[in-house]
């Protein structure tokens, strides 16, 4: 037998190791969550309205669209990919769904289906470029970003889609279906519908990534595609699925956004790309995961919403929001990358 250890550590060494280690470990795992909780407590004390149920629902509603797109990005990141086209996919599905209802007089469910198909189609385009044409993820999805944005603009002639618009010289007669009204302003036991949708998407993605064998395969493909293939995992298939999910979730987010404003504006999805990516990256630092994960992404999205909501209450200038968000991202990245390496 090979002996492992024949002398126990001296008490002193163990203690010293532990106290330093435990603090580091705590910051690494719970640091971001602790800051979030601290912030919520602080804002609630300083501004009683902040802690009310109504305001928390405002916050969650603000986080929901980012969370859904971010969860899609998270899935593409687990296979080692990166989807730059989620914003474009959102815009496309918004225009497709809005166009279907306003111009094409389609019903609500058909419009939802059309919108989601549009998102999945973007996923298909991406997987074709990446898996079959072997173009690196970043550049492939960058080019589909431009392609899809251009296509969307061309499709509606560069104008917004709203009730009563003129299309091809004729006045349209369709309007947004009731289901969109519900998605935009309805609620389930006083929880806004968009929060319910985002919550369900989170649960689905979380379970998929953490508890199923497909999730395990996603992470394996991202960790080392060659080793994943050698373990009998069909790498190409999983990468395709990941991009389809990413595109599909972008379209869900798009529909949520369209429902909120009851119109389809060109390129409204664009800012969500960066928001979603940063939520996913902040998520790396949550619970010391140090990899793309659904819970982290959700926390990342909520974190930003809490921060912005709270700061707005203190009359923090809106033009400084980006800066604050940048700070958050840097702190999170410091925790997941820098701290992870200095551990142990």
């Amino acid at each position: 037998m090979i002996e492992k250890t024949d002398q126990p550590l001296s008490k002193e060494t163990t203690n010293r190791l532990n106290s330093v280690g435990i603090i580091k470990h705590f910051v690494y795992r719970y640091g971001l969550l602790a800051v979030l909780v601290g912030m919520i407590v602080y804002f609630s004390i300083a501004q009683p309205f902040f802690g009310t149920f109504i305001n928390s629902m405002f916050i969650l509603q603000a986080a929901s669209v980012v969370a859904v797109v971010g969860l899609g990005c998270t899935v593409s990141m687990t296979v080692g990919g990166f989807d730059l086209s989620v914003g474009a996919a959102m815009s496309l599905s918004i225009m497709a769904a809005a166009g279907a209802m306003v111009i094409g007089n389609f019903g609500g469910f058909s419009a939802i289906l059309i919108g989601m198909l549009a998102g999945v189609a973007v996923g298909l385009l991406n997987s074709f470029l990446i898996v079959y044409a072997r173009i690196p993820d970043l550049v492939a999805t960058l080019s589909s970003l431009f392609l899809i944005n251009g296509l969307t603009l061309m499709g509606v002639g560069g104008q917004s889609v709203a009730k009563g618009m003129t299309f091809n010289g004729e006045r349209t007669t369709g309007e947004f279906a009731p289901i969109f009204k519900w998605l935009g302003s309805g609620s389930v036991i006083s929880i806004p519908a968009s929060v319910v949708v985002a919550g369900s998407v989170f649960i689905l993605v979380h379970v998929l990534l953490n508890y199923t064998r497909w999730g395990r395969a996603f992470y394996a493909v991202g960790g080392n595609p060659i080793a994943a293939a050698a373990a009998g995992i069909r790498v190409a298939r999983y990468r395709i699925i990941a991009y389809l999910i990413s595109g599909g979730l972008a379209s869900v987010a798009g529909l949520m956004l369209a429902a909120r404003s009851n119109r389809g504006d060109v390129n409204v999805g664009d800012p969500f790309l960066l928001q979603a990516v940063s939520a996913a990256l902040v998520g790396y630092a949550v619970l010391g995961a140090n990899k793309p994960n659904a819970f982290g992404t959700l926390v990342g999205a909520i974190f930003v919403a809490v921060l912005i909501n709270g700061l707005t209450m203190f009359n923090f200038p809106y033009y400084a929001q980006s800066f604050v968000q940048g700070c958050l991202l840097v702190v999170a990245l410091l925790m997941s990358y820098t701290l992870a390496q200095s551990r142990g």
């Binding site: 037998m1 090979i2 002996e3 492992k4 250890t5 024949d6 002398q7 550590l9 060494t13 163990t14 190791l17 280690g21 508890y211 199923t212 064998r213 497909w214 999730g215 395990r216 395969a217 992470y219 394996a220 960790g223 080392n224 060659i226 080793a227 994943a228 293939a229 050698a230 373990a231 009998g232 995992i233 069909r234 140090n290 990899k291 551990r343 142990g344």
Partner: protein, 529 residues
């Protein structure tokens, strides 16, 4: 060997020589902790100028950690490093390099930069040097690489991209890079673990040459024959402590016992005949222009496939296991046609390959041990798609126990394990299930002698249920584990025999036979000896 007194004594005796002026490099009571793991626990020894010292020890004994400290990659938790009489602290690999210490690491790909040409790799330190030349065109790099190449008497393909080279050439590049700096001490961490016999021979020639030039060498290996042949002195590490020192002529038996901490009994494997034929391969071609070859594998035997690197072994195995499609020939498995279109299909049919390049083909760097154990058996460890984590962890714990993987538990990240322990886990995980055919490509790389006999015993036991096809370019290994041996040369089978008719020398002789010799006759194929 449980006598700690003995070990203490050695420590005390070693102390004076540590501070001796004649020594080039000395370690003085070095300790190193990784979190709660004590990788080194007070290591003291020294290397004199021009001396070749072997550093031995079981997997996880702390060899790589010790040399990483000397190379400036890790900092010791306590203890001193003394170089030519002066205490030195290395915060960065460059500090060690400037002190004349050159290191070629166990993972050779750590020593080269992918995506760059061989010439660029040779000039890497020039490129990275602060305050170095600003303008360094391709032409200039080529010219200087040529100069280095000539000085070191090498013939590397300078314009080739590093990742296109076989591992052995990459290692040459890594060594050349270090030698270009005229080191006083060259550290080689398991340099032969990625080389074939013939390539190893070239390396030994090179080492002899370094010795002549007065370069001291610290040589790490699990192969006692190499230590015996190359080293003036050998020290054995066990559990992070020096347990014995040996001087040439080496008593390999004593070294082996000292490494393992127990008496080593020679294992004589009986050659088994095998039962029914399970897999038949006919008309496969290993290399593009070679003529077709045929062979079969039986249950109840370990079939060894050997030959030099470049003989076409890996290419052959890859066709059998679905890593590449066989263009010609016919394969039968358990009486049915077998033509896997990809790896997943081969596995579904019951054929698995334990691949050769561990870091590249088997390791998910950030994942823990239990995920590595179940990743290739996802459907076995899931229910309607949901993973059964508890069973996965229990399985990993079993593998760890059965194969004596040195670690703190299934939750460890794989990167924290020593190279040999990674290998034990990655081979061990396959033996839990009854496949139709188990194929292993160089499974003993970097594994210590204890683990090697443990794995080869397990494989032989396993082969009672499932035929095992094992490929290795080390004659000793094949003879130890295989019942029947096929020798390949340039894509063709040149010899086949049961292992009891062969020994390491005979094998090496057949393997190295140059292609200019006449092709063997049928009679010669069967009746060697």
């Amino acid at each position: 060997m449980r006598s700690t007194d003995n070990e203490e004594n050695l420590g005390v005796q070693a102390a004076p020589s540590v501070l001796g002026v004649s020594s080039l490099v000395s370690f003085d009571r070095i300790t190193k902790n990784f979190g709660a793991t004590e990788a080194l626990r007070g290591v003291s020894f020294s290397v004199a100028a021009g001396e070749t010292v072997g550093l031995l020890g079981a997997n996880g004994a702390g060899k790589s950690t010790l040399i990483k400290i000397l190379a400036g990659i890790h900092q010791p938790t306590s203890g001193r490093i003394v170089v030519t009489g002066k205490e030195r602290v290395f915060f960065h690999p460059d500090d060690a390099r400037n002190a004349g210490i050159a290191t070629v690491h166990q993972n050779i790909d750590d020593g080269v930069v992918f995506g760059m040409t061989v010439a660029e790799n040779l000039m890497l330190d020039e490129i990275a040097k602060p305050g170095g030349t600003v303008f360094l065109g391709n032409r200039a790099i080529m010219r200087r690489a040529h100069v280095v190449q000539q000085r070191l008497e090498l013939d590397l393909p300078l314009t080739a991209v590093v990742e296109d080279l076989p591992p052995s050439r990459r290692q040459e590049v890594a060594i050349a890079r270090e030698l270009a700096k005229n080191p006083k001490l060259l550290i080689l961490d398991e340099p032969t673990s990625t080389l074939s016999e013939r390539e190893a021979e070239k390396l030994f020639d090179a080492i002899a040459d370094f010795k002549r030039r007065g370069i001291a060498i610290l040589y790490i290996s699990h192969r006692l024959s190499e230590i015996e042949r190359l080293c003036d002195r050998a020290v054995v590490l066990r559990d992070g402590k020096i347990v014995s020192e040996h001087t040439a002529p080496m008593d390999t038996k004593a070294i082996a016992s000292s490494i393992l901490g127990e008496l080593v009994l020679a294992t004589e494997n009986k050659t088994r005949k095998g039962y029914e034929t399970v897999a038949t391969f006919s008309g496969l071609t290993a290399l593009p222009e070679s003529s077709p070859i045929s062979f079969n594998v039986r249950r109840g035997e370990v079939l060894g496939l050997t030959g030099l690197i470049g003989a076409g072994k890996t290419e052959l195995l890859e066709q059998i296991c679905g890593h590449r499609t066989a263009t010609v020939g016919d394969m039968q498995l358990a009486g049915a046609d077998y033509a896997p279109k990809d790896i997943a299909a081969a596995m579904a049919a019951g054929v698995v390959l334990v691949p050769e390049q561990r870091a590249l083909q088997s390791i998910f760097p950030d994942e823990n041990l239990w995920k590595h154990c179940s990743i290739s058996l996802l459907s076995q460890f899931s229910n309607n798609g949901f993973m059964r984590r508890r069973r996965e962890i229990a399985f990993a714990a079993d593998v760890i126990q059965n194969f004596r993987v040195v670690c703190s538990g299934p939750d460890d990240r794989i990167g924290e394990l020593s190279g040999g322990n990674q290998q034990k886990l990655l081979v061990g995980r396959w033996l839990s299930r009854d496949w139709k055919l188990l194929v292993l490509d160089e499974p003993f790389r970097g594994i210590d002698i204890g683990a090697r006999s443990l794995i080869s015993r397990s494989l032989r036991e396993y082969s009672e249920k499932v035929p095992v096809l094992l490929c290795s370019s080390d004659p000793e290994e094949v003879i130890e584990v295989a019942d029947r041996i096929i020798i390949m040369l340039e894509g063709e089978i040149v010899h086949e025999d049961i292992s009891s008719n062969l020994n390491a020398e005979k094998l090496a002789a057949i393997m190295g036979r140059s292609s200019s010799l006449a092709k063997p006759q049928k009679g010669e194929l069967l009746g060697y000896d």
